[in-house]
Every structure is written in C-alpha cells, then in structure tokens.
Point group: D2
Chain length 100, copies 4
C-alpha cells in the first residue's frame, strides 16, 4: 500500500529571467537524496516509490527555489496509485507500447 508513480514540477515565479534550468537542476540533485526512482522529462520529473517518501521529497524540493532567491514558488504533484496491482514507471509505458 502506498507505492505510487507521480509527477513533480517545481516552478519559481517572478525570477528575473525566463530560464529555469538552474532551479530544475537543483531540484533533481535534491531528489537523489530520497528513496525514489526519478526520470526527468521535458515537462517535469516522474518519480516512483512510497507515497510518504514522495511527500517528504516534495516538502524538501519546494524549498529549493526559495533558497536560491525566488520569492514565489508553484509546486505541482500528480499521484497515480493502483491497488489491484502495483504500478511502476516502466510497467505503465510498457502496457501502452504493447498495444501499439
């Protein structure tokens, strides 16, 4: 119970420049400290692991842009959990590819 695949996006608002990659890189580095699989996509980070660990990670990475000087942060999390069988990042993509 509680094994999830989720998407995490951390966005600083009101930064001086439109580029956000330094913030995203700092979030990626911080995620390495948690017991989660992570995959960086062009639109966010997909994570897999226990929901409680995902929420601890979210709590930590939401702070990162503030530590880097941002005054406003928008953090989004979308959790997908299935309890008839356990979801995995690979399994979800494989299930679709098998039908293509």
């Amino acid at each position: 119970m509680g094994h999830v695949v989720a998407e995490l996006v951390v966005v600083p608002l009101g930064t001086a420049t439109p580029g956000l990659s330094p913030y995203v890189a700092a979030v990626e580095k911080a995620l390495e400290g948690f017991d989660l699989k992570t995959v960086l996509t062009p639109m966010g980070t997909v994570v897999e692991g226990e929901l409680d660990e995902v929420l601890r990670a979210l709590r930590a990475v939401h702070e990162i842009p503030f530590q880097m000087g941002a005054m406003r942060v928008s953090t989004s999390l979308k959790i997908d959990e299935r309890r008839d069988r356990r979801l995995s990042m690979e399994g979800k993509v494989k299930a679709v590819r098998e039908k293509l």
Copy 2:
C-alpha cells in the same frame, strides 16, 4: 514560512459509473478535520493553510476513494506560496478584481 494556497483534486479511476460526487463529498467531509480553509470549486478544492497541514490532508484524502472501493486513484496538488508577502485565497482574487 509555509503558509500556502493550494488546489487539491482527488479522482478515482475505473469506478464503473461516471459520477464522482460521492467521492468528492467524502473528501470534502474529511478536509473539515484539518486546520485549513477550504473552498469547493467546480474543478477541485482550493485550500489555504500551512503546507505541512496541506500534505497531511492530501495523505488522508488520497485514501478515501480506496476505502470506498476504488482500485485506482489520481490525486493532484498544486501549491502556490509567496514569501515576500503572505498569500490568501481572498487576497489573490481581490488583487485581480481590483484591476478589472
């Protein structure tokens, strides 16, 4: 630090019928047990309070559709936090209305 406005959406998948209001109502009732302001909108629930309390609430309400028999749940959270001044649900809407 940590006072946020956020949007919370809990959606059961594979529920046989397209109506979701019993699930949403159960989530709303459960949210009353947390130290958060809440406003139900047609697309989710806006909450305001400490981020740690928001995450405790998310953890609790994500379980509700499972307890009601769903086998898959998609839970989304979008957090908005500002540290140059404190955001509130009313303040955010008022700031826009004043400019209309």
Copy 3:
C-alpha cells in the same frame, strides 16, 4: 456534444516580480469576449461552454502575457466532459453539496 467545464490557468514566467494579478486581470477581461461562463477562483479560472470556444479562448489568452512583455508563458487547461448527461459548473458543485 462538446459542452465542457474546464479550468484555465495562464502564468507568465521570468516576470521580475512575483505578483501576477495584472496578467490574470488581463486574461479575465479577454475571456469576456468569448461565449463562455467564467468563474475566477484563487487558483485559476473555471469556464463552461463549447469545447471549440474554450480552445479559441485559450489560444487568445495564451498570447496576453507575451503582449504585456513576458518572454515565457505556461498555460494549462483541464477539460471535464460528460456525455451521459451535460455537466455544468453549478451542477457539479450542487451534486457534491447535496451529499454533505
């Protein structure tokens, strides 16, 4: 077919200051030019109408922060459509409230 309730959020990135209400107000004003019901919430705008009109509105409001000087814009749309019966903003909230 095609009558939807949806949520629309337009966010400029890299705007130098964390306040976004001038952008949101300009988006609200522009939405008045479309055949849609709209309700401003603390986390976005809920709209109701034909999907094609919602997409025309999205196309227009996504341009607004660029016209106001932003160099990067993040625009989100979440569409909810039901075809066994027609969803409305009021009906969705009422269905939940009746169960509370």
Copy 4:
C-alpha cells in the same frame, strides 16, 4: 511564434476497470497523424510543435475515449512557450543535465 513544448493527458472516467492503457495507446496512435514530435512518459505524452497543431491534436484525442465507450473524459494540456528563444523537448532536458 507559437512553437511550444506541451504535455497532454487524456483520462476516461467511469470505465469498468482501472487499466487505461488501451485508451492511452489509441491516443498515441492518433497523435501520429499530426505534425508533432511526441514522447510517451509514465504520466502522459510530451508533444512539441506549433500551438495550433497541438490544439487540433487535443481536439481529436479528447474524442477517442468517447468513441471507445467512455461516458466521461478528463483531458489536460500544459503548454510551455518561450519567445526569447525557441524551446524544444531535447533542449529543455539538456539545459538541466548540463547543470548536474
């Protein structure tokens, strides 16, 4: 103007079973008919191309679960566009990786 990276997620609600991969596979196949780069992730599909083409694709794929028997569909789109320089899926990930 109008070249975007975006994330597209199409979810049928009230299907009899929690598995959604047949629907996602049908959406992926349909996306091949549009002038877009696409990458399937565990949480959705990232697309790149002209915004107008993205919106045409969204309009088409939102219909697919209905055609397959679903009575309710939730379709989400998140658009990222930058006008000081052109975003690409590869460029966004590369910019982060270079900082790790």
